[in-house]
Each structure stands twice: as structure tokens, then as C-alpha cells.
Symmetry: C2
């Protein structure tokens, strides 16, 4: 374990490192959310039992395909599945039994131990948008994302008070060759932020690189003994596990690194058009995927994932923030809890092209249901625009600000004597005013969540200051945050070793853009 | 009972009435929401018992003031309260006992019986914004509201598929004298819409006018025997019941017309700065108000109201869509259900000056929590802007569209065989596609909620069509709806009688603008 992981900061020398350290100390960052409110249980016991029975029927009768993966087929056969060709039929109850070795909760370590996250239980960890090939900002409009954009989003994530996790592909750096971009992305997360991050999944060898670079950052022994990455393994719904994603899963599970095993479903296209049908398929897919992770290494940390949107049947476009997506997210949370698995779902989902009212309605619908669904790991918690095609600078800081509401909602209602406030009512009495009373003075600073972004000014002041809308306020905040950003301290030798690793790996093979 | 109330339409003669009838038939309007999902229960039994105990302590020890209202004081004294001056102290348990005669649920009749609403139980009735002195639209900006604006909002409410109720003061028609505007407002609701409406509360005599005009519309006997108005009685928090609002309550309760009895609280100013303290005061105030309504007429229909916002302690501005407002709304819903009273809360609340992302985040936060709080009557369900100072044309149609998500969320998850969709999974199998399958074809039309306003188009199409944001789309929808509007049929004699009543009442007294 190196000094960084132990929480001791090593001075890198020079003014820059000292500045960085001062900034790191003053940077306000919230601990992951520990819920003190119930989950919203939309399905009753009977409905849950039907879905669980049907999911086992799907696994037993229909089965799942593990493509181009003889090792997986052999593991399944040895475990008792009926394997014919690439089709794996799993006897009723077997998948659930195999899932039982997965941990109910696990710690993902960050290089700054104050940023470690506990994934599972009643916790909620928030990570930014993942995957968009485009970015948008107010000045520059919509354009292909570059590594400079990527670095900017990592910086914004680092500076976001309510974000616990640096995420993974915060945008696709399309100016870097496809076979090398994972190196630059990892380097950015490791050096520009001290929050936990995700590994590459686009090739098993890139997952290996992610582990190697993590060993440089944390020390090899530390990585052998601890989980330092949570990576995203998508299932090819319906019921298909491809060799690339499974290859990455195999690398991570063997190394005891965490994976989100996640159906990616546009309802009506990759799953039945009904909610209960989709939940059945989601459960069958997660059961098969998580069971497979435990065949690779019993006890490997995994997350029950569910990325599900509805579809606009007129245009075929995926739609977000819809009631049906909420139904599925609520229901899948219940299914995950009955499997004792951490649950990933939700996000700042929207279909809008702009960070406008549509984007905010859809996003707020999604964020609220995710909190009440009992989500433990929320990818895409900020910055998502245009159905995930675009990482939006303005929406990133707008959503990140709204994540504060989730932190405060999750605290629940404080019922101690101070919370009950009976003496305040006694002091003020009928017709009085509470602003000046002792109880208010003692509590007002922490009583109410306050946005750092939204406008609370009187109309006249707001009007005189230019009648700015939310997007405009957000654009100003983006500029300010990127201007104020200072790199968190990192051992110079570690930084050099990471840079060397990236340079060596890049030099070893020719560029590939497909 | 006249023909209109009985559901038979009387031709007014002429093309206009015939056109109106055709429109009325084709106008798509959803029935009030009947929830098939649970409520979100944020407080446990112990916490609820503490708040109920404390509320009774407030009533017994501190009491409430009934100002300038000797009749009320006499009624309270006779009921067993300790009355000193204008202060009424209510022995523990008495208020709750008096509340027991209030109905758990009641029907508010509309002149078109298809629009009748059931208020209480697991139902949710949606009514538009109430009270703003200003309006805003994209072209005209922010300006004082006029009766023409008022009529426009009534028309938009009538045409809104998801809105069940025409509301009351959809904006303040500031160009009409204060002492006469209730007449024009009622006339607009009665003639431009056939949805249920609210009565005037700004003077007891105006409540009398509301009943008189309703008798013209529905027939006197019908109004004597049925509830045809639900009106808004605000409590002067903390713990004060003024004679104007109580005067209106007395008129309505005696006539068996419904009243929402509602604390109006900016937390930290009109109630303790803590959530549990505010809930205690809300419950004490509602207990006293509802008990008083039952002293006036046992069995009079009333609603447990809670209008509560948080405050920005930096500026003193009320804030909306905040976590603390959600806590209070969830908690108050539980308290209302334990009193067996219908519950009013929630709305399209926001502090933003524009129908932008801030407005939509705050509104979606508020609408979602209101649905899960078990609200039965939601005033301000669409059109609210700038902390309630402004009725926004664009936001009216934007919010009204989002109300569709509440309808669909409330349906819950259908668990019948078609809903389970197992045959679809069998038909499609691993790696297949559901779009063409039989189950999808049979269900796609009703499977997913679809916005009538938001943009679901591909980026390129959207861009070519002018890259419109939500506000711009909404402005176009407002124009189209007002252009398409056709008045619902109404008996010409009834219409004339209403117009005559208004003219006579207006002529009888001089204008007053304060």
C-alpha cells in the first residue's frame, strides 16, 4: 500500500503541488448517501413471487446464449446447466443459488481514503454520465468529444460536492485512437481526481491495463487485496452474453474487482413491451450474469444492474423520465434486494437535445424514482443529455447541484427534541413570527437544502442582472469551476510511472480507429 | 336539477352551439386518478404518535386565535374549549373527536357529470394554479394579469387532457374591480369550461355569490343536496383563524359545499424551521380548522390542506421543490390519512422566473412527491411560476403534459398474463427483437405514456426544424390550443341568467380597487 492510499499526502514539490494540497483540503465533498428513509415498494409479495418464478422459467426453458466463449460453456456445464451449442439452460433455482456467494455490500477504495465508497445496503453512490460520443456547451454547441473534454468532465466531477465517484467514460475521447483511449481516460481519472473510478471494458486486454495502472496508483498488494474499480458490464439483451463483455467481466472478477452486470434495455425492442415482462427478463439476465461471475470467482463483488428506458412507438426513439421506466426501476430494486445484491439503476436521464425544461422534468423524474427505488450505485447521475448521445457541460453542473436534494431527502425526518420544535411553537405563539426565535437561529444554517446554482433572487434583481435562465447560470458555473480547479496532490513518482505506462503501451501498437 | 347537471345537453340553437357540442364529445379528458400504487410512508408509527401528541399539546397549552369572530368563540366554548379573549384552547382529543364527522371522501359535481370528481380515498384530482397577480408568456413577457388572461387559462384548463378541475383564481384579473372580479371569474369557469370549479373566499358575501351563481348553473335543489364547489380556506399560520376566511368557511360549510382548510407556511417564518416542528403545527392548525367546520355543520365536506415551502435563509425567499418540502408533504399525508380526511398538497411549485430547467426540476420534484404522498386534491398542478407570483402560459401546458406521467405512474404494474409477457420472451428468444412480435403489436399503443409536447425527434430533424426548446414548443401549443378552443355547450337560458346575475350585482355597488 503506498502513501496515497494510506491517506498520507506526499508533497510533489513545487508550488503547484502545494496549491493542490491546499485546494484538496478546502474542497467540500459529501460522503456517499446513507438512507434514513424507506424504499418505495411498488410490488407486493405475490407479484414478486410471480416474476421470480417466471425468470426461472425463462432460464430453464429458454436459456441464455454465451457467445464465442467455450470456457463459459464449460463452467456452466460443470455447474449443472444444460448446455447445447452456445445456449445455456439453467435449472430452476441454480442461478439464484450461485448468486448467494456475491457480497451484499463492498468497499470500493479511492486513492484518497476519505473518498472510499460503500456500495450496497442502504447506501447510494453517485457517478457521472458514461459513454456519450458528443459533448455540448452553450458556446460551442454540439460536437464530437475529445480528450480535452474528457479531462474537463473529470475536473468538474472532482469539484462536485454531491458526486462521490469519478465514473468511467464521461465522454468518448474520439480524437484518441480507439485502442488507446482507455489509457488516457484512466490516466485522467487517476491524476485529475482522487475519487473512485471505473475500469475499461471494451476489450479484456484493456481491463488488464486498468488493473495494471491501478496497481501503479494503489500498489500491487493493495489492489490484490481490495476492490479499487467498479466497471460496467452490459448484457446484450435479450438473453445474450457476448465474449467481449464477458471477457472483461472474467478479468475483473478474477482480480476481485467489482462489476455492474446490467441488462441494457429499450422496452418493447430488447424486452417485452410490458413492465412485468421486462422485469422478468431483467431478473433472468442478471441472475445468469451474476451467477456466471460467481462461477469465475465465488465472492467477486458484483452489482445487479438495470438500465431500462421506454420507447416512443411513433418514432422508435428511447424515452426517459417516463412512468414505465419508474415502474421498472422500483420493481427491479425490490428484486435486487431479495437477491441481497447491490443495485445499480437511475440517472440524469432525458431525451431532450438541450438542458431545458424537458431535460429537467425527465431528469428529476428519474433521480427521484432512483432514490426511492433503493439504488446503491447510480451511473449517469449528472451530465446526461439527448438520450445519452451527449455529455452536456451545463447539464453536468445543473444535475450535480440537484443531487444535493437526494442527499437531504435521504436524511429523513429528525424526530429528536430539537427536531420536534415544540418550544419554538410555545415561544412564538399564535400570530407570531419564527424568523427571530431562538430555535430558528440555532437551526437555520443546516435546516434547508440550498442550491448553489439556481436563482432565488427577487424578480427585480434577477431582471437587472440579465434575466439569466438556468443554462446561462450553469455555463457561468462551468467556467468558474474549470478556472478554479486545482489538481489533487499525487506522489510525483506515481504520476510519472502512470505516464510512462501509458506512453509505453501506446508506442507498442499502431493506432486503430475502429 | 336542470338538464345540464343531468347530463342531457340542451341545444342553444345556432352553429356555434352545435360546434361546441361536437368538440365537447371529441375532447379527450382523463378521469381523476385512482391510485393502484402504495403511498410513501416516511414516518414510522412512533414518529406519527409523537407528532399527534405534540399537536394536541399545542392546542391544549397554547391554543389558537379566532379573530373578530364572537360566533366562533361561542361555538368553541359550547363544545368544551377553554376560551379566553380570542384565544381558544382545545382539550386533548377534542379536536380529533370533532373531526370524525367530516366525510372520508366526497363527490364534487361538475355541470358535465362525466367530469364529476371523487375527492378522498386513493384518488387524486388535479386543479390548476391559483392566485398569481401576474402572467407571463414568451411574447409578452411578465405583466399584470387581466380577465382576458383569466379566460385564456380557463380555456387551457378545459382543453387539458390530464386536468380534472377548472380551479379557482387561475390568475388575478387585476383590470376588474376587487369587489367584482369574483363574479367574472365564476362566470368564466361556468361558461368556458364544464369541469368542476372553486368558489370565492375573499369575503363571505362573495362566497354567497358563488353559491347563488352555482344555483343558477345547477339548479337550486341540486346545490342544496350536492357539493358543487371546493374552495380554499387558508389559515393565517401560526395558529390564527381570521374572520374573512372563517366567514367564507362558515358560508360554505352551512351550504354543504367543500372547503380545503389549509395552513399556508413558509418554513422558518410561519412555522418552526424543522420538519417535525412544522408537521406538528400543521396538524394542530388543521385539527382546529376542520373541527370548527364540523361545529358549523357536522358532516360538511372538508380537506386537510398543507401548503408548505422551505425558505432560502440567505434572501428570505420561499424555495420550492426542496427536500424539506417533500418531507413535510409525505408526513402530512400520513397524518391526514390517520384522520380519515382527504388531503390537499403539492403542485407545480417552483421559484424560477422562467419556464426553464430550474422551473422543471423544482416542479417535477414537487409533482412526484405529491403523487407518492397520497395527495387527493392538488391545487397549482400546472402553470405555477416564480413562487406563485406568475401564471405562466407556457408552463401551464408544459406542466399539464407532465401530469400525464402521474396518471400512468398511479396505474401501477399490471400483473395479469398479458402483463407478464412470458410468451413474448419465448417467441423472441436470445438475441431476437421484440418490436415485431405479436405481444408488442397487441400492446404497444397503450404500453407507454407519451408526451404530447416534448421533443422525441432525431437530432437532425429537430435541428432542421429550428432547434426549439421546451418553452418554444409550449408557446406554439398555447397558440394552437387557444385557436382550437370551442366552448362547451350550455343552455342559453342558464347562460343568460348567469350573465344577468353578474351584471345586476356589478351595477349594485361602486367599483373598489382595494
Amino acid at each position: 500500500m503506498n502513501d496515497v492510499a494510506a491517506g498520507k499526502r506526499v508533497r510533489g514539490g513545487g508550488g503547484s503541488a502545494r496549491r493542490a494540497e491546499r485546494t484538496a483540503v478546502s474542497l467540500e465533498s459529501a460522503r456517499f448517501i446513507e438512507r434514513n428513509i424507506p424504499n418505495f415498494e411498488i410490488l407486493n409479495e405475490e407479484a414478486l413471487a410471480i416474476i421470480e418464478w417466471n425468470a426461472d422459467t425463462v432460464l430453464e426453458e429458454i436459456g441464455v446464449n454465451f457467445l464465442e466463449n467455450p470456457t463459459a460453456l464449460a463452467l456452466w456445464k460443470a455447474a449443472g446447466a444444460d448446455v447445447r451449442g452456445e445456449r445455456v439452460r439453467i435449472p430452476r433455482g441454480l442461478a439464484r443459488k450461485l448468486c448467494a456467494t456475491a457480497p451484499r455490500t463492498f468497499t470500493q477504495h479511492a486513492r484518497n481514503p476519505a473518498r472510499n465508497v460503500e456500495i450496497g445496503g442502504r447506501n447510494l453512490v453517485l457517478a457521472p454520465v458514461y459513454g456519450p460520443p458528443f459533448v455540448r456547451d452553450m458556446e460551442g454547441g454540439r460536437r464530437y468529444a475529445t480528450i480535452a473534454d474528457f479531462q474537463n468532465f473529470v475536473k468538474l466531477g472532482y469539484m462536485s460536492k454531491w458526486l462521490h465517484h469519478s465514473g468511467g467514460t464521461v465522454c468518448e475521447p474520439t480524437d484518441v485512437p480507439v485502442n488507446k483511449r482507455h489509457l488516457d481516460m484512466l490516466l485522467a481519472h487517476m491524476t485529475l481526481s482522487d475519487k473512485p473510478y471505473m475500469g475499461s471494458v471494451t476489450e479484456p486486454s484493456r481491463a488488464e491495463d486498468s488493473i495494471e495502472m491501478s496497481k501503479i496508483l494503489f500498489g500491487a498488494d493493495f489492489v490484490d487485496q481490495n476492490t479499487v474499480m467498479t466497471s460496467l458490464i452490459n448484457i446484450n439483451s435479450p438473453l445474450t452474453f457476448d465474449s467481449i463483455m464477458m471477457g472483461a467481466l472474467e478479468v475483473y472478477a478474477k482480480a476481485n474487482q467489482a462489476a455492474i452486470i446490467s441488462p441494457f434495455i429499450v422496452g418493447g425492442a430488447m424486452a417485452p413491451v410490458t413492465v412485468a415482462g421486462t422485469l422478468t427478463q431483467v431478473l433472468a439476465e442478471v441472475l445468469a450474469g451474476v451467477a456466471y461471475s460467481q462461477l469465475i470467482r465465488p465472492g467477486a463483488p458484483v452489482i445487479f444492474g438495470a438500465f431500462v428506458t421506454s420507447i416512443d412507438m411513433n418514432s422508435g426513439a428511447p424515452t426517459f423520465g417516463t412512468p414505465e421506466a419508474s415502474h421498472i426501476t422500483y420493481g427491479a430494486g425490490q428484486l435486487a434486494r431479495r437477491l441481497n445484491l447491490p443495485y445499480r439503476s437511475g440517472g440524469s436521464f432525458c431525451g431532450s437535445k438541450l438542458p431545458d425544461a424537458q431535460a429537467a422534468y425527465e431528469t428529476a423524474n428519474s433521480l427521484n424514482m432512483a432514490l426511492l427505488s433503493g439504488v446503491n450505485f447510480m451511473l449517469h447521475a449528472c451530465g446526461w443529455l439527448e438520450g445519452g448521445l451527449v455529455s452536456s457541460y451545463e447539464k453536468f453542473v445543473m444535475d450535480a447541484d440537484q443531487l444535493g436534494t437526494l442527499h437531504h431527502l435521504a436524511k429523513g425526518i429528525i424526530m429528536d427534541e430539537n427536531g420536534q420544535g415544540l418550544d419554538a411553537i410555545r415561544e412564538v405563539g399564535p400570530g407570531g413570527h419564527f424568523l427571530g426565535c431562538e430555535h430558528t437561529q440555532a437551526n437555520f444554517k443546516s435546516a434547508f437544502w440550498r442550491s448553489d446554482l439556481l436563482d432565488y433572487k427577487p424578480f427585480e434583481t434577477w431582471d437587472e442582472e440579465g434575466a439569466r435562465d438556468t443554462q446561462t447560470l450553469a455555463a457561468e458555473r462551468v467556467k468558474k469551476q474549470l478556472g478554479d480547479y486545482q489538481q489533487p496532490a499525487l506522489d510525483v513518482a506515481v504520476h510519472e510511472a502512470l505516464t510512462d505506462y501509458v506512453a509505453k503501451k501506446k508506442a507498442a501498437v499502431p493506432d486503430a480507429f475502429i
